[in-house]
Point group: C2
Chain length 257, copies 2
């Protein structure tokens, strides 16, 4: 690649999250970087878009080779605004994260980080989401930096198939313990959830969601299995949700009668 | 089925949307119905969950065979609260909608209606989302009622494969014009989007998202093709987002070096 690649960066933990700052640092070693990230945490917003409130964009940094903006919307809003309003060219790559917490298995469906990635893929841009299996904002991201750079260089050099993006999850482990990278599929899993029922000072009930993630998949070619064994997992992800294997079955149903 | 089936109903247009009221009416002819729906429109919230604000549940109706509650959260919150707090039994089926507007093609990814359906499927409940291709709240839902009932009866009688739910879209047409039902796949499509840039009274810029949907798929076995030809489309949908076909390619990449 002759000119420096243009790399678009977003996340869902917000502009000040250490995971985003580290990702920006790594990407600045690879190309021209434009960041549009939420002005506050947007975890759990999934693929939500803002339609009832006007969007605002605030310029934080604008210098040659690096621009940074905050937005009052979701990660998907950040990508749409970033592509349509901020960028003057199509980016060569979109990266999102580093998310503070796992987006492996079914957690992808709730993830704002991965929603930004899917939105990039839907626009035809090679896109990667990075997450580390630790919720702390003090997490040491140094051990995973070289892997993030290596995976990103591969995507810049080789591209990705149309309609496919990457969900990368990183075990929380010292560098010496990380075993390498596994290409794998999304593990079956479920949240065993419950609600914490409380009474407010006015005597009215309210509820907080709580739960624990449970893997329900013994296969060894999954992201959860890789992560349990201290491998970085890369799952290729698509936004065609058709369950192809069910089409033939449904065609046998007594419909159109 | 000897006892009356228990049917859980939700949507994303809110408790007062005519599409929901029609769906409730149809479901009450099939079984015991429990409704938990958002107290305000939640379109575009996708699979978002509420984690920073406590959830509230308000009892609207509680009588033998029929219960109705509103919730201040997203459709996914409604399903989680409904299953964990309201229902004393596992429902036999979940239905969501009738959404005022299309959820065909990639629109599924932004849809709160379909997020509720996917959440039901993730809990192992046979789940269906219904949408009609008309945004008006005055839309005549009579022509599609018999199809909604027929599809729901099939799901109650035959179940659905594990991990699969249904995305049903209904053309806006008089009953005589509806040609029947097609089982099909999600069409390729994209939003040609732009932002309406305006200046507020304080002199600051703000943005509204706008756009038009464009089909980019000539195949005849898609939901968009079916709907264009006045067929009701049924797409079986899964929440395993793995792009299986890309795994072999990624395994050839120079990683782990």
């Amino acid at each position: 690649m002759k000119r420096k690649p243009v790399i678009f960066v977003t996340n869902d933990d917000g502009l000040h999250a250490p995971g985003l700052r580290k990702l920006i640092e790594i990407m600045r070693s690879l190309g021209t970087v434009v960041v549009v990230a939420p002005d506050k945490p947007q975890s759990g917003t999934a693929h939500g878009i803002t339609i009832n409130v006007p969007l605002r964009l605030k310029t934080i940094v604008k210098e040659p080779g690096y621009e940074e903006y905050s937005c009052n919307g979701t990660p998907v809003d950040c990508v749409k605004l970033g592509f349509r309003v901020v960028l003057k060219v199509r980016p060569d790559m979109l990266v999102s994260g580093v998310n503070h917490g796992s987006n492996a298995s079914i957690n992808i469906i709730y993830s704002g980080t991965m929603a930004g990635v899917l939105e990039g893929a839907m626009a035809g841009i090679p896109s990667i989401g990075f997450s580390i299996l630790n919720y702390s904002h003090d997490v040491n991201l140094e051990p995973c930096a070289k892997y993030i750079k290596q995976i990103s260089e591969n995507v810049l050099n080789l591209g990705l198939p149309a309609g496919v993006c990457l969900n990368v999850n990183i075990p929380y482990a010292p560098e010496s313990a990380i075993q390498g990278i596994h290409i794998c599929k999304q593990a079956g899993g479920t949240w065993q959830e419950d609600f914490d029922e409380r009474i407010d000072p006015g005597g009215r009930k309210y509820y907080w969601l709580k739960g624990i993630f449970v893997k329900i998949d013994d296969a060894q070619d999954t992201d959860e299995y890789a992560l349990e064994h201290n491998f970085i997992s890369i799952v290729p992800v698509q936004f065609d949700f058709t369950a192809q294997q069910a089409i033939a079955l449904l065609k046998t149903w007594p419909l159109n009668v």
